[in-house]
């Protein structure tokens, strides 16, 4: 086969691409727009100024990575609530099963994806850090 034509065709393609809009995202200054159903950091939903979670243990049960620790407590109204709610982000695989499993819709996943940290302890998100603002 004639070896020149493929080279010419390739050159045409590269030249055409030079005038396309670059797809690069200038990351720290330009942020990506994450989708509505992006599975990032978890968030505990709040209703009547406290977490909706009723400590039913469905999320640690369904969690395939076993990263959720829940301890139930009893509040002043004798209602069950999560006195401890921790997610170990080093173990979490962001599958979203916990959100699906939650019977009271107390858990969600936010678009937050910058989860880098310095120590292992920093990756264990306590209830305070998970509560939605």
């Amino acid at each position: 086969m004639n070896p020149i034509t493929p080279i010419i065709n390739g050159m045409k393609i590269t030249l055409k691409h030079m005038f396309m809009k670059p797809v690069t995202l200038q990351y720290p200054t330009e942020r990506p727009k994450v989708s509505e159903r992006f599975r990032g950091l978890h968030g505990l939903k709040v209703a009547h100024s406290k977490a909706k979670c009723v400590a039913c243990y469905l999320c640690p049960t369904v969690c395939p990575a076993k990263c959720i620790t829940v301890e139930a407590g009893e509040d002043a109204n004798h209602d069950k609530y999560a006195s401890v709610y921790e997610i170990d982000m080093l173990r979490c695989i962001f599958c979203g099963y916990c959100v699906e499993a939650c019977p009271v819709d107390a858990l969600k996943m936010t678009g937050e994806f910058e989860l880098a940290n310095y120590t292992r302890q920093d990756f264990i998100y306590s209830k305070e850090r998970l509560l939605e603002k």
Binding site: M11, P22, T24, Q26
Partner: protein, 354 residues
């Protein structure tokens, strides 16, 4: 102009130093910004942005790279032959730059009554009323580009590393075989011009409003010379001496800091030289419309043509993958050399009958 040194007016020496400085600084800057341009152009061809952070749209990137390389640790492998190891980058770098001495980058300009030809190794003889330059300019360039091989072979050998040695051997084999066909494709041009002097060759191309280029008379030779030059200066798609996939970084594997930067500079300076040479021999040099009316247009046309060819080099780099070694040798020995020989014969036959 009373003072004369060695029978030449003072102005000659001033003009010479000025030309050397201007051309050298210009080539250095071009080399620095060729790295930037290459990253930018290839970036955009791959629908990326290229350097963006250092300065406006990354314009200070070459300076940042230079400073970084300058402050890197200088490593000389304990088993290397120190002297050859230290000298090799210089041997690679110097021929790349001194080639520029014979390339005419403009016509003759007149400053304070003294005519200065814009070519470093040239002077205007007032008595004879004509420009004298190196009458074997092209031979000089071919000789210098062959010297460049020594730097790379030495680097490969002196590093005392298998990868470097492989890179050096590949470089020598490749450069020697492509030099042949590059030289042969130039012969066809000399048959038309009848001279090896670069300023004469440029002069012969000044007809038709500055468009009587040898490219139109010798398209095959022009094409082959450009490709062979790419192979000779080890640019993609012929960058086998530093094929990362096989040889880590080829002949410069063991080099660090400024010595590595010197190889890099040599590579880009070679690219500038090759583009300048192709411009001079095939694209009419500094010729173009209106150069006789405005002499300063000459360098502008020359630079524009050289930059266009450099863009083509980068364009080729962005497009083509590296050749396999046997393909490279096949292309050099079994395609380019026979075609160049046939081209010479055909040029001779046509030249005999016209």
């Amino acid at each position: 102009m009373g003072i004369e040194i060695l029978g030449l007016p003072m102005m000659y020496y001033i003009a010479m130093v000025a030309k050397v400085l201007v051309a050298f600084v210009f080539v250095l800057l071009t080399v620095a910004y060729a790295t930037y341009a290459e990253r930018k152009i290839i970036g955009h061809m791959q629908v990326r942005l290229g350097p963006m952070r250092t300065g406006w749209h990354g314009l200070l990137q070459p300076i940042a790279d230079g400073v970084k390389l300058f402050f890197k640790e200088e490593i000389i492998p304990s088993q290397a032959s120190t002297f050859a190891f230290l000298v090799a980058p210089l041997i690679a770098l110097v021929p790349a730059f001194i080639t520029f001495a014979v390339i005419p980058f403009g016509g003759t300009i007149e400053i304070a009554g003294y005519k200065i030809p814009l070519q470093i190794a040239a002077y205007y003889d007032t008595a004879a009323g004509q420009v004298y330059d190196v009458n074997v300019g092209v031979l000089y360039i071919l000789a210098m580009s062959s010297l460049g091989v020594y730097g790379i072979v030495l680097a490969g050998w002196a590093s005392n590393s298998k990868y470097s040695l492989m890179g050096g051997l590949r470089a020598s084999a490749q450069m020697i075989s492509y030099e042949l066909s590059a030289g042969l494709s130039l012969v066809a041009v000399f048959m038309l011009s009848g001279t090896l002097s670069l300023s004469k060759i440029v002069e012969f191309q000044s007809g038709l409003g500055g468009f009587e280029w040898y490219l139109f008379k010798q398209p095959l030779a022009a094409f082959m010379f450009f490709i062979c030059s790419l192979a000779e200066i080890n640019r993609t798609p012929f960058d086998l001496p530093e094929a990362e996939t096989e040889l880590v970084s080829g002949f410069c594997t063991e080099y660090s800091s400024m010595k590595y930067a010197m190889f890099f500079m040599a590579e880009y300076a070679n690219m500038v030289t090759v583009c300048a040479l192709t411009t001079t021999i095939f694209l009419g040099g500094w010729n173009g419309p209106l150069t006789s009316a405005i002499p300063l247009l000459g360098p502008v046309y020359f630079i524009a043509k050289v930059y266009f060819l450099m863009f083509v080099c980068m364009w080729i780099r962005a497009t083509l993958p590296r050749y396999r070694y046997d393909q490279l040798m096949h292309l050099g020995w079994k395609v380019f050399i026979p075609v160049a020989l046939v081209n010479i014969v055909v040029t001779g036959i046509i030249g005999y009958f016209i």
